[in-house]
Symmetry: C2
Subunit: 228 residues, 2 copies
Amino acid sequence: MDRLLQSVKISINEKIFLKDPQSSDLGKRIIQESILMISEMGFESFTFRKLGMRIGSNESSIYRYFENKHKLLLYLTSWYWGWLEYQLVFSTNSMADPVEKLKKAIEIVTRATEEDSAFSHINEVLLNKIVINEYSKSYLTKEVDADNKDGYFVIYKRLVSRISQMIQAVNPSYRYPSSLASTILEGSLHQHFLKDHFTSLTNCHGNVAPTDYFIDLVFNSLNKDLNG
Amino acid sequence: MDRLLQSVKISINEKIFLKDPQSSDLGKRIIQESILMISEMGFESFTFRKLGMRIGSNESSIYRYFENKHKLLLYLTSWYWGWLEYQLVFSTNSMADPVEKLKKAIEIVTRATEEDSAFSHINEVLLNKIVINEYSKSYLTKEVDADNKDGYFVIYKRLVSRISQMIQAVNPSYRYPSSLASTILEGSLHQHFLKDHFTSLTNCHGNVAPTDYFIDLVFNSLNKDLNG
DNA sequence: CAAATATAATAGTATTACTATCATATATTA
DNA sequence: TAATATATGATAGTAATACTATTATATTTG
C-alpha cells in the first residue's frame, strides 16, 4: 500500500477495550499473536490462557486489555473494516464517474486481501481469513442490540452506508441500495468461504473471483451496462 | 400446509445422531424443547444440562441421542432445510414456465416462515429464527471439511443445487448460477437478521420483504423482465 | 417370567472463563 | 534520589461447561 498510510491509525471505539492495545508493546503482541492463533485454531478453541502462554505473558495481563475474547474479536474485525474503509475512501475519493467509482469500490471490498506493510504487527491476510470465518459470530449473539447500541459495529455500518451511497449515485431510482450494499460485503465473505470449503455452491474458483460475480450482480441490478 | 405432508418424514443423515430422536417420546421432547430453548437463550447459553432440567429428564439421557450440542444444531438445521426443500419441490414440481418456477422458488425460500401443523413437535417459526441466528455457526468451524465429508450438509447443498438448476433453466448462459443460488439462501437469512437488528443496513422492513429484493436481484441478473 | 433395552441418578474430570490478591519490575515525579 | 504510581506477573480460587463412567431402576419385548 501507499506510503501515505504509514502515518494512519485505524481508530476504534474505546468501549471495546479496557486499555488501548496500540499503546504498549504487550498490547501489540496481544493483537499480533491473537491473529495468528485465531486463524490457526479457530475462535472457539482460542483462549486468553493459551495466548498468554504463547506470548510469554500472563492470562491476567491480557484481561487488563480486553474484558473477554468476544471483545477482542470485535476489536480485530473493527480494525479490519476500518482498514478496508480507509482503502475504499482513499482509492475512490478522486473519482468522478459514479459507475467507475462503484466498480472500484466493489473491487476493493471483495478482492482477496494482500499484506499491508504499514501495520507491521498485523497480518492482514490472516485477519481477512478470521473475518471470513468468524465475523458473523461477533453479531449473531443475544447481545447484538446492546452491542450495537454501544457502537461496536459503527465502522462496518459506515462502510455499508458508503457503498449504499455509491449505488444510489449510479441509479437513484434503485429500491434496495442498502440491501445490495450489505449483500456485497456479507456475500463476499461467504463466496470466499464457499470457494475454500463448498466448491459446488459457488462459481468462484481459481480463474473467477468473487469480484467478477459481484460486479456482474450489481450492475445488472442497476441496469447499467458496464461497457457501453 | 397441505394434508399430504402429514405422512411425510424429513429424513436426516443418520451419522448426525446416535439414536433417532423421531423414534421415541423422549427424542421428540428433546427436539421440541431444544427449539424453544435455543431460540430463547441462544445457542451459546444452551446446554444439555439445562435442557434435561426443562424436560424433566437427565443430561446423560440426552447424550444418548446426540454426541454434543453441535450435532443437535446440525440436526435441527438439516431438518429445516429438508422441510424447505420439500415445500420447494412440492410447489414447483408441476410448473412448466421456468421463470414462474424460479420466482415461486425464491418466494418459498426467502419468505417469513409460517407454522406447519404437519409436524406437531416442531415449531417452524422458532426453528426459522434459530436458522437465521445460528446456522452459520454450524459450518464456520475448524471441522467443516470433515463434517462436509460426513455428509452433514447434504440437504442444504441439494437445495442450493436445485435453485441453481432453476436459474440455469431461465438463462443457460448466466455464468454464476451456483453463486447466485447460495446468495439467495444465505442472503435471505442475512436480510431477515438485518431487518430485526440493523435496520439501516437493509431496505427490507414492514412493507418490503426480502423476497421482493431477491426477485428483483435475480431477474435483473438473468436479464429477464418479469412482466413482459 | 426372563432378558433386553431405555432412562435416571449420581459422581467425577479436565477445561473454560473468569475474579481476586499479592508481588515485583519499571517509569515518573517531587 | 527517594517516593510513588503504573504495568505486568504469579498464584489461587470459583462456578460453569462439556463431557464420561458407573450403577440403579423402569419399561418393553420375546
